[in-house]
């Protein structure tokens, strides 16, 4: 969805946005986010390379388990056994010596076919209903390792996103990993999804439900969205104890940041300020953990004054969050997160203010048997614009229920069904809107 989102934003030139149009844009973005199923994100070539099921690294695709996250942090190498007293091998010593070929480095058909039906309402407008069968996404991945080196790479080519054919290279990065399995580090450069391989499960954008937690995918009034694929460099460190009982990890990233319309800056830009992102993670086996996230950036933003003319200002964008999950008896996963937003804001009358948000979610995934789960999630957004131009604290509530089932022994074909209801007012003009969405899709990962 982030890729769809960034594509939608990248296709648009910055425009002058009046207050009402701003609201409409926010609602339209929300509509788009809800209508289209989430991206498929799975790399089947790794399953082929290691002769394991998808469930070796995923609870159910696309949700990563602890091994899947560590697989990425170790430069796409399967974490080896780490027993008490055992010598920790260097990453170079666990390099896979199987023959490099295209089938264990590329996947060309990561796709989903979906049906969705939606009804939206908005104050002052007639209700709208839509429904659609569509090929939601079709992505190709090229990811793996360079034989006999510590280099690894990851590229994602989106052929279809959000039901529309629009080729886009949404991820393209190369990295190097070193150290030992117990104490490893990596350095990555290129266009990389903000949260891939970073954060414990509750801090990941992927969920068993087709949509991600709202706090990751809701665009703020400053045209900022947390989920993005910027260009930059990132570095990480991981410490693992015996039997993977405890894992401590930290990551940091410097990126180009966003354009005024919220699209990622992919090349040279007159705006020289960068965005900084960091996380600290602690995994507690089996499959539980906590993550602290911090984001700081500065971007251009377009606003319309009282006379209808547009002006640009540079808000500082800040996000701080804490996320955690606890998996009980390998069956029930309790997840939750809270993120605080604090962005600069200039009102139409020219007065300075702030956009404040305290957004949270709570979710339960119940794995009935391997490959079958039911899920429920509640999202709550508390947001406001400070100062005289603000309309007070506004809330958005959303609850979603659904189920996922793998349809093959490998776990590479997944069926999902979900229903969600959202209700609330936007923080800029307090216009009320509701959204009911039914989604079902089948995702293929070859």
């Amino acid at each position: 969805m982030a890729h769809l989102h960034s594509r939608l934003r990248a296709d648009k030139e910055p425009v002058v946005i009046s207050k009402n149009r701003h609201i409409s844009l926010l609602l339209a973005v929300g509509f788009v986010l809800l209508l289209f199923p989430n991206r498929s994100e799975a790399l089947p070539q790794f399953s082929r390379r290691y002769n394991v099921k998808c469930s070796a690294c995923h609870t159910i695709v696309p949700v990563l388990n602890e091994q899947g996250m560590l697989f990425q942090r170790l430069g796409y190498h399967l974490p080896p056994a780490l027993s008490n007293g055992g010598v920790s091998p260097r990453l170079s010593e666990i390099l896979d010596r199987s023959k490099w070929d295209i089938t264990n480095n590329a996947s060309f058909a990561v796709t989903d076919f979906s049906y969705s039906a939606e009804r939206t309402t908005q104050e002052g407008q007639a209700p709208a209903s839509t429904s659609a069968f569509q090929v939601g996404s079709w992505n190709a991945y090229f990811a793996g390792w360079i034989p006999d080196t510590g280099f690894f790479y990851h590229a994602e080519f989106d052929i279809v996103s959000g039901g529309a054919t629009n080729p886009d290279l949404s991820n393209a990065c190369i990295g190097y990993g070193g150290g030992t399995v117990r104490n490893s580090w990596y350095l990555v450069g290129g266009r990389e999804h903000l949260q891939v391989a970073q954060g414990t499960r509750a801090a990941q954008i992927y969920s068993l439900l087709p949509s991600s937690p709202s706090l990751f995918e809701t665009m703020g009034p400053t045209n900022f969205i947390f989920d993005q694929s910027p260009v930059g460099i990132s570095a990480g460190y991981t410490h693992i104890t015996s039997n993977y009982k405890h894992v401590f990890a930290a990551s940091a990233k410097v990126t180009n940041g966003d354009n005024a319309d919220g699209s990622e800056i992919l090349g040279p830009s007159a705006r020289n300020s960068k965005s900084f992102w960091a996380d600290v993670d602690y995994w507690y086996a089996p499959e539980s953990g906590v993550t602290f996230v911090d984001y700081y950036g500065k971007k251009d933003n377009l606003q319309t004054d009282l006379t209808g003319n547009s002006f640009t200002f540079q808000p500082v964008i800040r996000r701080q969050g804490v996320f955690g999950n606890y998996k009980l008896l390998s069956k029930v996963d309790f997840l939750g997160g809270w993120m605080h937003s604090h962005d600069g804001w200039v009102a139409p009358d020219g007065s300075s203010a702030s956009f404040l948000g305290n957004d949270s979610y709570a979710a339960i995934d119940y794995y009935i048997v391997q490959g079958l789960a039911i899920s429920g999630r509640y999202d709550l957004l508390h947001q406001k614009i400070t100062g005289d131009s603000g309309v007070g604290l506004q809330s958005n509530h959303k609850w979603t229920i659904g189920g996922s089932k793998t349809l093959t022994p490998s776990g590479n074909i997944i069926g999902r069904i979900a229903y969600g209801y959202q209700s609330g007012r936007d923080p800029v003009a307090a216009v009320k809107g509701t959204d009911r969405l039914f989604q079902t899709d089948i995702a293929f990962n070859f």
Partner: protein, 204 residues
């Protein structure tokens, strides 16, 4: 506009060509590698072993197909080492009690089903050492990790191995693999090893 449309069409055709030429093979590989071919006669298992089998089935099948464990033939000590190694993997979610139950089933399976299969090969097959070795390649479960002529696990093909390795090297590779290798040392009787090596040497 026409250029953009042409690029999109070309991209689509190119992608489709790649999928048809490569993706289908990959997909086939992925489907087959985790499809279990060995069926355990659970009705014939003693009640206690049946419980152990269920733990084995539930825990081991989370990450890989059961054939991965049901094909290879290892000694009791090797299975103990292998289960301990699996328990120390990041995705392992089984405790010491589960590990004991898994080990009990694997030992039972080794002493009954696999032993019977090996005995059948030795008793019924009176062909050349290469031919017997080919049968033993299957009965020892080598195809769980290796393939010959595209049959078995293609991630480690042994085609042409006979022209790359000597008999001594192959013996060592089977019984004492290099450290760091994913292959466990195989506890193979001398006669069976002779036949296996003869078969591998014939793969030229």
């Amino acid at each position: 506009m026409k250029t953009q449309l042409s690029i999109r069409i070309l991209s689509g055709v190119f992608s489709l060509a790649i999928v048809l030429s490569t993706g289908t093979g990959a997909a086939h590989g992925q489907f087959t590698q985790n499809r279990d071919t060995i069926k355990i006669d659970t009705a014939g298992l003693p009640p206690e072993i049946h419980k152990d089998f269920r733990v084995f089935q539930a825990k081991c099948n989370e990450c890989h197909g059961l054939d991965t464990s049901l094909k290879p033939s290892l000694s009791a000590a090797q299975w103990a080492s292998e289960v301990k190694r699996m328990q120390a993997m990041a995705s392992a979610q089984f405790n010491d009690r589960d590990a004991d139950q898994i080990l009990k089933f694997l030992r039972y399976d080794e002493e009954h089903r696999k032993a019977a299969a090996r005995a059948a090969v030795s008793a019924d097959f009176g062909g050349s050492p290469e031919a017997i070795g080919k049968q033993q390649f299957e009965s020892y479960g080598c195809s769980a990790c290796h393939s010959v002529a595209g049959v078995g696990n293609t991630s480690s093909a042994l085609d042409g191995i006979g022209s790359k390795r000597t008999a001594a090297e192959l013996r060592k590779a089977v019984t004492s693999p290099a450290s760091g290798s994913a292959m466990p040392p195989m506890d193979v009787p001398a006669k069976d090893l002779d036949n296996l090596v003869a078969y591998l040497l014939a793969l030229k």
